[in-house]
Each structure stands twice: as C-alpha cells, then as structure tokens.
C-alpha cells in the first residue's frame, strides 16, 4: 500500500485529462471513468486507514531535498472523508449533471479538485501544499461558476478574488517561513522553528496563515465568499465544497501547521477559539434569516466549522490538561467527519429537490415528504443530525466539544456552543417546516421521487449519519484515535523526516 501513496493525486489528475480526451470519442465514457476513478480512490482511502504512519519520498530523493509525502492518522482520516464523499457526489452527478452542458469538463474539474485536495492532505512539503491548494481552489472557482448565469459568475468572481487574497497571504507566509528556516520540508521546518522560537516574524506568519487558511475554512470575518459560492455551484459541487473542501484546504492545513510545524501556542489558541465562537454565532444567526435552501446550508457550514475551530483552538492551548486536550481533539475531528457527512447529505438533498421541483426557495416549497419520501427522510435525518439530536452522530460530536470546553473552564464558550446548538435546531426546523412538511403547493402535485442514482448516495449518507452515531466506539478506535495521537505528537511528526 505504501508505494501507491502518490496515486491519491496521480489518479485523479491523470483521469481528469484522460477524461477530456476520451469523451471526444465516446460521450458516456466520462461517466464511467469518473465513477471508477473515485471509486478506486475511496477504496484505497479506506484501506489506508489500516496502514500505520509512514513517509514517502517522491522520486526516491531523500528529504529535506526531495518532496516528502506524509501518511499518518490525520491524513488518513482526511483522505477517507475526501474520497468517500467525492465518490458519492460523482454517483449523484451522473443524473444530476445532465441538466448542465459540458459534462466532461465538469468531471475533469471535479477530479482536479479531488486531486488537489488529496495532494494537500498527503504532502509533507509546504510549497507543495500551496500548489495543491491552488489546484483545488482554481478548480473550485471554475466549478462555482459552472452554470454561467448571473449569480454563478458573480459568486465565482467574488470567491476568486477573496480566495486569491488568501492564497497570496499563504504564499507570503511560506516565503517568510522559508526565509527564517531555509527549508520547505514541514518536519524539517518544525525542527528549525523550535530553535528559532516564536519571534515577531513567525507571529506575522501565523497571522497570515490564520487569515489565509481561515478564509479557506470560512471562519468569520473571512467567510463572506462562502454563502455566495456554495449555493451557486451545482449541488454535488456544493456538497464537495461545504462537506470537504473547506476542511481539506482550511481546517486540515491549520491543524497540520499549527500543531506540527509551528506548535501549540496560547495566544493562537485564544484567537482560534474566539474566531470559532464568532463563526458559530454569526453563521447560525444568519442561517435563520435565509429563504434559500442552499444559502441556509452554506451559512450553517460557517457555524459548524466554528465548532471545529473552537475545539481545535482549545487543543492548541499548551496550558490545559492532556485529557481535556484529547477530548477537544476527538470532538473536533469527529465533528469534522460528521459535518462532512451530513452537510454533503443536505446539499445533495437540496439538489434532488431542485432537480424535481426546479426551485430552492423555501417559501415556494412544502409538503414534499408525501411526494419524495426517501429524499425527504434522508434530509430530515441529516438536518436532525446537524442540529445535534440523539441518536444521530452530530449529537455526540457536539457533546464532546462542549464537554471539552466546560472541562477546560471555558464556561462562556461552552454556553455559547450549547446556545448555537439550539440556534441550529431552530433553523433546521424552519427548513423542515418549509420543505418537508406543510401544504404541498399545487405546482408540485406531479413531483416524483428523485432517480435512483441520486437517491442512492443520499441513503448511504443517511445511514452513515445514524451509523457514525451508534458505532461511535468503532469510529473512535479505527478512525479518530490515530489522528488524535498524531496531532498531540509533534515529535513523532518531526521524526517522519528521518524514518520512513
């Protein structure tokens, strides 16, 4: 398994180009190709969960000169999230994307995005990370504007400008770090930084990274692109953006750099916690006021990422006990996984609703549970899960995060987290009352259940919502434990440079 590690980026990138070539000959081939590619990736990523940490030297060059790929608990976890959701989104796209033109280009961009995200996650080289981040970002800019209508283009342009600022910020930070440490290899850089300590230049780098990666992760006040961009994209892309992209490009990178390269720091911890709490509250409140199905979900993403951020921020504080730290990290990682599952589920649901009814205006929908029972049941499971109701998975992750906050003595943040849980409940009830229940509008009396290829991913994700909650012990031992061990073990990360 180890020697195939680079294939996580190579396969999607290669298939992206093959796809464009082959669809000139056979139109249907693109569907199968994308399906097989993402399926293989999903399978490989699940297999990777059971492989211990190792590092891979691209081209056989030894670090710190060659490019280093790192596989540890954290990257395995992220790979599973990315590739499984990508696979399900592709299944959903098979039928859904027939409403758009230029399907081959869509698959290519999709695979480029997946390749970029996988690259971000597996790389151990800071500049390489930047390159993959840009590949994924550029593909997502294009995908957001894929519909080429007024709103799509506007959203895409705003996203591009704001994303561009973030990317330049990140590049600036990387340049700074290179000038301080003289290396781009992350484990090596971590070693050099331990000698340097946190001086003013490093502090500036941290500010740049929090801005840059924070923008990719859409934490308030860097969030403004998200509620425009995510609803404008085609539904499977929205699912990928909200479910995966903001985590792979934003949260994962923050985790990797703050925990492993720069190291835990109380000031960064309090900043992250503050930003997380702000995101939670602002995103939640704004979600209540929305009338558009997908826009509400987009704001909710900001709010939920706030939970992850606040827990990560807590774990970054070197002053708190090891047990509380473990609790916070487990909460953050579990919520990250959960959010990927239920947010992509909800976005796909919105896509199915739009596919059948042609609208996503909450005011115009209603009573769909009678017409689309399976879709709506999954939608209801997803929204209850995200609102943190037992026995679904969202309850456990939120509970763990709140437990960690209270245990560390952050009573106010804990209370805010509980309150935002309630706000989340409020807007998802609004969603349900307007879409699932209520009176069926005359216009939709002929609406049928979504096609099978769209319902299948929904059902799988809904089962995951329930399953991850019930099978928490398994999830913890098989998926989360390695990741949290990794995050707490900076020395182990640095040793990856030598070992292999």
């Amino acid at each position: 398994m180890q020697q195939y590690y680079p294939l996580f980026t190579a396969i999607p990138l290669a298939i992206a180009f093959v796809n464009l070539l082959i669809t000139k000959i056979n139109k249907r081939a693109g569907d199968y190709l994308a399906l097989i590619a993402t399926g293989v990736l999903a399978y490989m990523s699940i297999k990777m969960l059971f492989v211990g940490p190792f590092s891979y030297h691209v081209g056989g060059h030894l670090p710190p000169w060659g490019i280093l790929l790192v596989s540890d608990g954290l990257s395995s976890l992220m790979l599973v999230v990315i590739n499984v959701i990508a696979f399900l989104s592709i299944i959903f796209s098979l039928k859904y994307m027939t409403t758009y033109t230029a399907k081959p280009k869509y698959y290519s961009l999709f695979l480029l995005m997946v390749g970029g995200m996988n690259g971000v996650v597996i790389t151990g080289d800071l500049f390489n990370l930047y390159v993959f981040l840009e590949i994924a970002s550029i593909a997502s800019y294009a995908l957001v504007g894929f519909g080429c209508e007024k709103e799509e283009l506007e959203a895409s342009f705003k996203y591009m400008i704001l994303g561009g600022v973030a990317s330049t910020g990140v590049l600036f930070g990387i340049a700074f770090l290179y000038s301080i440490t003289g290396t781009l290899n992350m484990p090596d850089m971590a070693m050099q930084l331990e000698l340097v300590g946190i001086n003013r230049a490093v502090a500036f780098v941290i500010a740049l990274f929090v801005m840059g990666f924070g923008l990719k992760a859409s934490s308030v006040p860097f969030h403004a692109w998200l509620p425009d961009a995510h609803p404008s994209a085609p539904a499977p892309i929205s699912a990928m953006l909200s479910g995966v992209l903001i985590k792979a490009l934003g949260v994962y990178t923050i985790m990797r750099i703050m925990f492993h390269v720069i190291g835990p720091n109380p000031l960064v911890s309090s900043i992250m916690m503050f930003l997380g709490a702000l995101s939670m509250v602002v995103g939640g409140l704004l979600a209540i006021g929305q009338e558009d199905f997908k826009r509400m979900l987009a704001y909710s993403s900001i709010s939920q990422i706030g939970y992850v951020m606040i827990a990560l921020g807590l774990a970054l504080n070197p002053g708190i006990g090891m047990m509380t730290k473990a609790l916070a990290i487990v909460g953050a990682l579990f919520h990250l996984v959960n959010h990927a599952v239920f947010k992509s589920l909800l976005f796909l649901c919105s896509g199915a609703v739009e596919y059948r009814t042609g609208t996503r205006d909450l005011g115009k929908l209603g009573g769909l549970i009678r017409k689309m029972p399976v879709t709506m049941t999954t939608c209801s499971i997803g929204s209850l899960s995200i609102a943190g109701l037992p026995p679904f998975n969202g309850f456990w992750s939120k509970l763990i995060i709140i437990m960690a906050l209270l245990r560390a003595g952050y009573m106010v943040y804990g209370a805010i987290a509980i309150l935002v849980g309630f706000i989340t409940l409020a807007y998802f009830i609004k969603l349900q009352a307007n879409v699932l229940f209520g009176k069926l509008p005359e216009a939709f009396s002929e609406v049928r259940e979504a096609p099978f290829s769209m319902v299948l991913p929904l059902v799988i994700l809904a089962i995951l919502c329930v399953g991850l909650g019930i099978a928490y012990p398994f999830v913890e031992t098989e998926m989360l434990r390695a990741a949290w061990d990794t995050l707490l073990d900076k020395a182990g990360f640095m040793n990856l440079l030598l070992g292999g």
Binding site: F127, A142, E154, A175, Y178
Partner: protein
C-alpha cells in the same frame, strides 16, 4: 533591505487597489500586483550579493556553484507561482468578460445580486 521594503510597498499598493477600486479590471490588476510583490519577495530571499545564476556551467565546479550561486529554490517557487498566477488570471479575465456580458457593467459594486 530597501528592496524588501519595495515588495511590501507593492503589496500594500495592490491591496489598496483591490479594496478601493470598483472596476473589475482594476481589481484583477490589484491582485496581480499583490502576486508579483510576493514573487519579488521570494526572489529576494534567495538572492545573495555578488551571486551567480544557479546553473552549472562547463567551466565551473559544483563546489564553486554552491559557494557563489544564489539559492535556486525560490526561483523555482517563483516560476511555479507565476504559472499558478497565470491560471488564476486567465480564469479571472474569462469570468470578468462573462460578467460584463451578463451585467453590462465593470463596476463591481453594482454586481451585488447575492447578498444577505
């Protein structure tokens, strides 16, 4: 040091252009200026006074190159970042043209259908 400062000035100029100018094209120019300020910064990091280009010539030993050559890594990075910048720029200009086609304006403050 002055040159480092120059890249900072460029950065701020680009940022100003990005934030204050309403015209889409000027915004694109602004973000390009920011990119180039960082490219300049990267090149400056690798620079060493009196250094030579990091290319091995026939009349030069490897040790000599290591001693006198400037750091080649930032140059590679700059090349990469230029390529990336090119990709983003092309996409931006494309979207900009399509935006004009739809909205009949280059004024970004009038393009605000998505809000709230």
């Amino acid at each position: 040091m002055v040159l480092y400062f120059l890249s900072l000035v460029l950065f701020v100029m680009g940022l100003y252009c990005l934030v204050a100018k309403k015209n889409i094209v000027k915004k694109i120019i602004g973000i390009t200026i920011i990119e180039y300020s960082i490219n300049l910064f990267l090149i400056l990091i690798g620079y060493r006074r009196g250094g030579v280009a990091p290319i091995l010539m026939k009349d030069m030993s490897v040790a000599e190159l290591v001693e006198r050559g400037v750091d080649p890594l930032p140059q590679a990075l700059v090349l990469t970042s230029i390529v990336i910048g090119l990709g983003v720029l092309a996409l931006m200009v494309g979207v900009c043209l399509r935006l004009y086609e739809k909205y009949k304006t280059f004024d970004m403050s009038e393009i605000n259908r998505l809000r709230g």
